[in-house]
């Protein structure tokens, strides 16, 4: 079985995000990049299938700038076999443009299963995996927290309002991973050393995203206010919630 995991780099979630002086982009100068956290669950799911069956091949597929290479190597260090970077001049911010590049590559290089994170924690649309599935005419399931894959179909569970639903889907399909699917492994030292020699093919793509729009800092909250200390302050808090905030 051939599994393709779509992954991308995102700024570390600890990062303070600054807006570029022109107000139309994020200042990426000092950002430290990590594998998108949700993509790590997708990589781990693929590697667990590989652990269980030697014949499983895991390929990482990224749309991004050339600088994405170091983040892709981290994914290879976790245990993926090879990677392809669909290299664009600048990281894309629109999901449909990204999905079209991924789908085009997948049409030419078929896979049995495509895994991805449910959303990038940068632009947060949560749209690319579903778009790829649709563009390929494949089945798909988003935000899955449980996955069992057999030769011809997969069974997944996904969180829905008020519960979980189980979905059965035929292969090939596109499944996006939510937190809770598994616990991603850390790369071993051997994995990190080995990753440097694993094949990473670069395919040049000309795609560009349109303008994001105008960026601004979210409105600041008024400075916090401490009502008091300990249980004795609870009565005053209750009064404020009822009489000042009027939320209870």
């Amino acid at each position: 079985m051939r599994i393709v995991v779509c992954m991308k780099r995102v700024p570390d979630t600890e990062s303070v995000i600054r807006i570029a002086p022109d107000g139309g982009a994020v200042d990426t100068a000092d950002l430290n990049y990590i594998i998108n956290p949700y993509d790590e669950y997708a990589i781990e799911a693929a590697l667990q299938m590989k652990d269980a069956d030697d014949s499983v091949q895991v390929l990482l597929l990224t749309v991004g700038e050339s600088a994405a290479e170091s983040t892709i190597r981290k994914g290879l260090a976790m245990g993926a076999d090879e990677a392809v970077l669909l290299q664009v001049p600048k990281d894309l911010s629109d999901p449909l443009g990204t999905a079209r590049l991924l789908a085009e590559w997948l049409k030419a290089n078929p896979a049995d299963l495509v895994l991805a994170g449910k959303q990038g924690v940068d632009f947060d649309h949560g749209a690319v995996p579903g778009m790829v599935a649709e563009l390929l005419g494949w089945a798909g399931a988003s935000s899955v927290c449980a996955l069992a894959c057999e030769a011809s179909h997969a069974t997944v569970e996904r969180e829905v309002e008020g519960g979980r639903e189980r979905v059965r889907l035929p292969l090939p399909c596109v499944i996006s991973a939510d937190k809770g699917l598994n616990e991603p492994r850390y790369a071993s030292l051997k994995g990190i050393m080995g990753a440097k020699k694993k094949p990473l093919a670069v395919v040049d793509c000309a795609a560009q995203s349109g303008a994001l729009g105008s960026l601004e800092a979210p409105p600041a909250r008024p400075a916090g206010r401490v009502v008091g200390q300990g249980a004795a302050a609870a009565t005053e808090l209750a009064r404020l919630l009822k009489e000042e905030a009027r939320v209870l």
Binding site: T13, E14, V16, I17, P95, L96, A99, V121, D124, H125, A127, G130, V132, A133, E134, L135, W138, A139, G140, A141, S142, S143, R158, E159, V160, E161, G162, G163, R166, V167, R168, L169, P170, C173, D178, K179, G180, G213, S214, L215, E216, P218, R221, A223, G224, R225, V226, V227, Q229, G230, A231, A232, A234, L237, A238, L241, K242, A245, V247, L248
Partner: protein, 311 residues
């Protein structure tokens, strides 16, 4: 020009978030000079959606029965072509995550996910948080487009009259992915995204049993229980309750943070709550910087005292 609101149906009724879609569409109606249609992916009488802002209601009996994301998206695409729908609105939730991307790809339209504000004073501009709310983008929307709107941010107002509800005769084709089972009863525990009040616990709660006073306060207030990443990663609470950058982004009226220090990733998920209460032993905890009302103290003393004071 038409705004098409895709209604989310649970147990034969529209979810509250779908009424918010109609409210949002109604606010745009004058500026964009358009009609507002409600599209219900099920059979039934939804004429009452007129009162919430729909000029007409269309139902899709073809989508009764087991849900299939691929087959449903194909039917919705036909419906958009039949009814028009320069702007298609979904409420951001489990169904929209399956359907909106597919519909956008199928129709070749841009998708803007999780919008928090819409403005039509000069062209349509959608506000979206990116980087989990650390930055806001005001994006001009080139129509036709598909948007998903975050629940609890747009006003639902019942001040109109019932309208005609008619069913669209479209048929569903092959189903690939099919929902075979619902594992926990829908309409059971209150979902975080729909809750007006959230009582949330973090590392300071100390363990799974430490959530008992929070659960009790939540029950008393009709609130949902949330958790920080620390509490979820420790296995004390399920991931479905995690608030923050790798959990849910919530906008309740009242967010009560108990034993949560307020890491940047957590703040990203809850700082747009209308009121924030923080209860924490550490007076230096960053959560106090964003809390409208803070109490420095032991949550195991303060939470029961608050429950008693509110009883």
């Amino acid at each position: 020009m038409t705004i098409l609101c895709i209604v989310d149906v649970a147990e034969g009724r529209e979810r509250p978030a779908s009424r918010e879609l109609l409210g949002a569409a109604r606010q745009l109606k004058g500026a964009l000079g358009c009609q507002v249609l409600a599209l219900v992916p099920a059979s039934g009488d939804f004429a009452h959606l007129g009162a919430w802002g729909a000029d007409a209601v269309h139902t899709l009996p073809a989508l009764d029965g087991a849900f299939s994301s691929d087959a449903s998206a194909a039917v919705l695409a036909q419906a958009v072509e039949t009814l028009g729908g320069d702007l298609v609105l979904f409420s951001a939730g489990a169904r929209a995550r399956e359907l909106a991307p597919r519909l956008a790809a199928r129709l070749g339209r841009p998708l803007l996910g999780e919008c928090t504000q819409l403005d039509a004073t000069s062209g349509l501009v959608a506000t979206r948080p990116i980087f989990a709310g650390k930055v806001l983008v005001k994006a001009p929307v080139a129509l036709p487009a598909i948007l998903t709107l975050r629940p609890k941010l747009f006003p639902a107002l019942e001040d109109g009259f019932a309208v005609a509800s008619q069913s669209l005769a479209l048929s569903q084709g092959e189903m690939k992915a099919v929902v075979t089972e619902l594992l926990a009863a829908a309409g059971g525990k209150l979902d975080l995204s729909e809750a007006d009040i959230i009582v949330s616990g973090g590392r300071g709660v100390g363990g799974p049993e430490g959530f008992a006073p929070l659960e009790s306060l939540a029950t008393q207030l009709g609130a949902a229980v949330g958790a920080s990443r620390a509490a979820v990663d420790a296995g004390w609470r399920p991931h479905s309750q995690q608030v923050g950058q790798t959990g849910k982004v919530v906008n309740p009226t009242l967010y009560i943070a108990c034993g949560i220090s307020g890491a940047i990733q957590h703040l990203a998920g809850m700082k747009n709550s209308r009121y924030i209460v923080a209860i924490n032993k550490d007076p230096e905890a960053p959560i106090f910087k964003v809390a409208d009302y803070g109490i420095v103290g032991d949550l195991f003393e303060v939470v029961p005292a608050l429950a008693a004071a509110l009883a």
